[in-house]
């Protein structure tokens, strides 16, 4: 059967993720040491796992309300207020989603008509562009530069805006660069956003993993909550990637529209996961989020270690202040991250992710995750050092 003429051309033309090909290569290598994973190495804290088990044993196996358990939404509202000074109404300004991923999709489907443009900092997480394309939108990458600490500047934003611009995706702390945006840097964007009547989709999934300072949300600026779709979740802050629970917060007129899509396509986030998420925050309050702080401190040590190591190898490294990635330039040795990553994989059995997977601006870089034990990081660094020492200097 010839499916080519039957498959939706938008789907057919979606490129395979650059990560996918590399994943297959890495899988063939025996005893591969990987720095390629975008999830915490910590197991979900025990009290959270236990609460999910108890909910199942107690027979809480039915659907929850479409927007998610009200008690969970109330907890999320309390949490956002306490941690980031954000105020959202649990009843009508919030939906519990299947990870932040669903929330990204919801935001695009809710706002984008064919031809609408979505401005996306480049490099960024791999799923924004496909999500925009799937709804007929036009992704407009806007270059972020290492000189600007990979932040989005008002000038860069202004130059990307056209009459068709509708959404700005603001993914900070950023995967893959580890960049954050400070309150001052965000404040500088506000006039441009307002002037062009843009909606901001702020993906703040790494908010808790901010080093040297505290995370600030664009929604906390005056006049911004009304035009911000805030996306976050439990995966990174509470080491809960496999549970698939996230949330989206927005003005109630927006949530009302999103709710319809969520209701027809998802019904509700998994019930056991919602009970676990509820307990994650509740338990967090009981210990003033010290587990989160401990995780952050552990990541912070690894971050400093990896940056120092890479810089001493000649892999020029911008100092990331968020998430758990280091994004060194490989240009001293190879023109592209693809070549570097492939040679490193075959030469020393270490897997890192070519930066080009995250957008054209990432091409000369590789992404290394430090969501690994110090032991693994040390081992990987030894091997990468051995690899770079044998390379001719391209400079």
């Amino acid at each position: 059967m010839n499916y080519d003429e039957l498959i939706n051309p938008v789907v057919a033309q979606l490129p395979q993720s650059g990560i996918r090909r590399f994943f297959e290569l890495a899988n063939e290598i025996e005893d591969c040491i990987s720095l390629g994973v975008g999830e915490p190495d910590f197991v979900t804290p025990w009290y959270i796992r236990d609460s999910a088990v108890k909910s199942v044993v107690a027979g809480k196996t039915q659907y929850t309300s479409n927007a998610g358990l009200l008690q969970l939404r109330e907890m999320i509202a309390k949490y956002l207020d306490y941690r980031f000074s954000l105020s959202y109404e649990p009843k009508d300004e919030m939906i519990v989603t299947i990870g932040a991923s669903e929330a990204i999709d919801l935001a695009m489907r809710t706002f984008i008509s064919p031809g609408d443009e979505v401005i996306i900092p480049d490099p960024s997480y791999v799923s924004y562009v496909p999500n925009v394309r799937l709804v007929g939108g036009v992704p407009v990458p806007v270059k972020t530069k290492v000189e600007d600490d990979f932040t989005l500047t008002p000038q860069a934003l202004e130059s990307a805006v056209t009459p068709k611009s509708k959404i700005l995706i603001l993914p900070y702390p950023n995967n893959p660069t580890g960049a954050i945006m400070t309150a001052e840097q965000l404040a500088a964007l506000v006039p441009v956003i307002r002037k062009h009547n843009l909606i901001v989709v702020s993906d703040e999934i790494y908010a808790e993993l901010t080093y040297e300072g505290k995370h600030v949300s664009i929604a906390s600026f005056e006049g911004m909550k009304e035009r911000t779709v805030l996306i976050s979740g439990f995966s990174k802050a509470f080491a809960m990637t496999g549970w698939r629970v996230g949330y989206v917060c927005a003005p109630k007129d927006v949530i009302r529209q999103m709710y319809k899509i969520h209701q027809y396509t998802i019904m509700c986030a998994p019930t056991a996961s919602q009970y676990a998420a509820y307990e994650a925050i509740k338990g967090g309050f009981e210990e003033d989020f010290s587990s989160v702080s401990e995780m952050r401190e552990a990541y912070d040590k690894r971050r400093r270690f990896l940056v120092a190591q890479f810089n001493s190898m000649g892999l020029d490294c911008f100092t990331p202040r968020g998430a758990f990635y280091v994004f060194p330039s490989v240009k001293r040795f190879y023109p592209t991250g693809d070549e570097f990553a492939e040679k490193l994989l075959y030469g020393e059995s270490v897997a890192v992710v070519p930066g080009g997977a995250f957008g054209a601006e990432g091409k000369g870089h590789v992404r290394c995750s430090y969501a690994y034990s110090l032991k693994s990081l040390k081992k990987a660094c030894e091997k990468i050092r051995a690899f770079t020492e044998n390379l001719p200097d391209n400079k």
Binding site: F23, S34, G36, V37, K301, R304, A357
Partner: protein, 161 residues
């Protein structure tokens, strides 16, 4: 203990082989400063020693490990310290704790074989005047040591976005 010293101890608890340079990088501090702090921690007895935690059964061969619960009557003025000091003098005693609850001392011992454990209990431990009772539990299998689950391979994908 300073915050800096605590951070160093935490790193070494996870990885006793971390070098001064690596620790310095992790804490964004000078190598000399780290070296001085580690030496002080060692001198003050905060860090007792560095060792390998071995999980492999083959390595231990027929060696027997046991937990011995001991009830003792504390000595006047000296409490438990004197008897604890005496018991820790035996080479086969690997760890020794004073416990709350049903018994007083928990002794972890390692011996070449069963007979040696028996001899330790009957010829050494039970001869101590203040020892009231002894219960010996042999360790059959180890599942988790020093925070690390034995043989637990994490099912993690190699590459993810």
């Amino acid at each position: 203990m300073t915050k800096f010293e605590q951070e160093i101890v935490k790193i070494l608890q996870e990885d006793g082989r971390a070098s001064y340079k690596q620790i310095a990088e992790m804490l964004s501090a000078g190598e000399d400063k780290v070296k001085a702090a580690v030496e002080k921690l060692e001198k003050d007895g905060v860090i007792l020693k560095y060792s390998a935690i071995v999980a492999d059964d083959e390595f231990f061969g027929d060696t027997v490990q046991a937990l011995i619960e001991v009830k003792v009557s504390p000595m006047k003025e000296k409490g438990y310290d004197e008897i604890a000091g005496y018991v820790s003098g035996f080479d086969e005693v690997k760890s020794l704790y004073l416990m709350s609850g049903a018994y007083d001392l928990a002794i972890f011992i390692e011996a070449k074989n069963l007979r040696e454990v028996a001899r330790f209990v009957s010829e050494k431990l039970s001869l101590i005047n203040s020892v009231q009772s002894v219960a010996t539990h042999f360790i059959l299998k180890k599942y988790k040591l020093s925070g690390t689950t034995i043989g637990a391979e994490k099912e993690r994908l190699l590459i993810q976005p």
